[in-house]
Symmetry: C2
Amino acid sequence: MTQNIYDDPQFYKGYSQLRRSVEGLDGAPEWPALRALLPDLRGLSVVDLGCGYGWFCRWAQEQGAGRVLGLDVSEKMLAQAKATTSAAGIIYERADLESFDLPEASFDVAYSSLALHYIKDVGAFVAKVHSALKPGGRLVFSTEHPIYMAPSHPGWSIEGDGRETWPLDGYLREGPRTTDWFAPGVVKHHRTIGTTLNSLIRVGFTITHVEEWRPTDEQISANPHWAKELDRPMFLLVAAQRP
Amino acid sequence: MTQNIYDDPQFYKGYSQLRRSVEGLDGAPEWPALRALLPDLRGLSVVDLGCGYGWFCRWAQEQGAGRVLGLDVSEKMLAQAKATTSAAGIIYERADLESFDLPEASFDVAYSSLALHYIKDVGAFVAKVHSALKPGGRLVFSTEHPIYMAPSHPGWSIEGDGRETWPLDGYLREGPRTTDWFAPGVVKHHRTIGTTLNSLIRVGFTITHVEEWRPTDEQISANPHWAKELDRPMFLLVAAQRP
């Protein structure tokens, strides 16, 4: 099963104070780019894999989605979701993304925000998502970018001339990466972009968009320190379709 | 037009001494992975975009390809190709990959090894390749990996604890990169993996394989210093199909 770090009290306390936790979708700088990959949700059945506080589920319901299922492994997050983002048509269920089950050909859209990097067996995950989608259905997800995740020491280095660089190493050594993020020992699973895309292709998906997210010029104007994000990508966004 | 650095005498002298120049395909460590993406060439018409010395053209002809066209902008390389890798069924022609023309729907396979990073307008390039392929035809190419090309100072950095890292910066700043490689002022065009793949998708290709090349365990056993290549990818290999 995935490491359920979100139920660690120390982790949860830190995570719950992030802008994206407090403000929801609009607090996530990559949300506009991810939203642009989604179809019009009116009347569609939607599953959110790793729904967290349920911000996306509520948004999908507000867009007119016909049925919304939010899955998450964290009891704390589901409790918060049920308390704050519930609405008619939304169901929240506890599920481990390494071992969940969904009925076949039952969803039009599968969405997943920043959950894939917690999953060890990406092949099994995307096979289940493919099977749960109706023909023509779409998968849209974000994940931590492998450039961001790979390094043995993932933090800026200062070169002799004062420039900050991202000290990449081990990019082609796939496997777990353990970092301290709000709590010690957070485990994520590093794999190349190629591995992720080939996993999708292998189970039958057609890749329709691949985006290594960068802040827009408008976002950088509003938050000048985000210009640093142009040096290495933090998020990978992918859209794929079941033919 | 692309910078024709291969006709620079200083560049050509250095390049011609590379293992891949002297030994041909078997001198290129990524060749087995690239070859694995190709269909059986028997009876197929093949175009090699940036054919260099013609090693691939001759190999394709030996595999039984029905017709092989090799295009390159370098007069020196084409002269060498005509002198050393000519065979019945192979045609070598001079062409700039920014402005070449090919007849429509006339090739089964388009191949390109380490040429794409010299091309500024990747969208126009892949549109022409798509149009030149027959329905069902395949494009297989390698390009310098954007992680390798992006940095302002593309060479290993030594961290305080002695580790070597790849000092990534500017990954999301697409555009020209000028380095000194055999000759001063070699211009390559950096773009993200996402930009390359979306260019293919936009003109109608289906992505069938994406590989961030790494040496195999056998290659590392035979050349232990290649283990360093696991720290950052040097080559990106892609296969796509015109539906």
